[in-house]
Symmetry: C2
Subunit: 110 residues, 2 copies
């Protein structure tokens, strides 16, 4: 598992990424992230729900109680246009960070 201090800030990108494929409810979001990253990224549900509320309040997600007559009460989250628009720049920022760290690692070998 990747340490908490390292993955700080990556959760937003992880959530946006899994929702890019289609709407999901909270519990399933967590499971997808864990499965798709083969356990490397895994955050507790107590971390996930506050994150979802933050992202919703920023207008990146839209939540709706499932109306399909499900037996269970489920909040289904989907990407808004704003959330989708956030994905590319966010990925760029992360790529920039990794390139920057890579350059620091290489510098002393040069």
């Amino acid at each position: 598992m990747i340490g908490a201090n390292i993955k700080r800030g990556s959760s937003e990108l992880a959530v946006l990424s899994v929702l890019e494929a289609g709407p999901l409810h909270g519990y399933e979001i967590a499971r997808r992230i864990e499965r798709n990253t083969r356990g490397a990224l895994r955050f507790t549900l107590a971390s996930l729900y506050p994150l979802l509320y933050r992202m919703e309040s920023r207008g990146w997600l839209k939540a709706a109680w499932s109306e399909t007559g499900d037996a269970r009460a489920r909040r289904c989250y989907r990407l808004t246009a704003a959330g989708r628009k956030k994905l590319a720049p966010l990925r760029k920022e992360w790529n920039d960070l990794f390139r920057a760290l890579a350059r620091l690692a290489e510098a002393h070998h040069a």
Copy 2:
């Protein structure tokens, strides 16, 4: 510049990386990181000094007031053996995170 929330936790690795090449004082550490990453990573000195103290208290760095009769009072930081040992696993963690985020991005295209 990379946002604060994204680069969270990367500062430690950045400091360890620039000190890998040899001891430096605080102000120079900041300058090297900014220069080597072409401005992508840049943190204020008010962020840097508390970070250096934390890393020193963990035994990763060792500080010494420069004894070379410098006009200016400078604290020179160097990697300890423990700090050097921390570098490889820390880099691995960051690479794991990068790969995990990449897998999430690819998943919905598959």
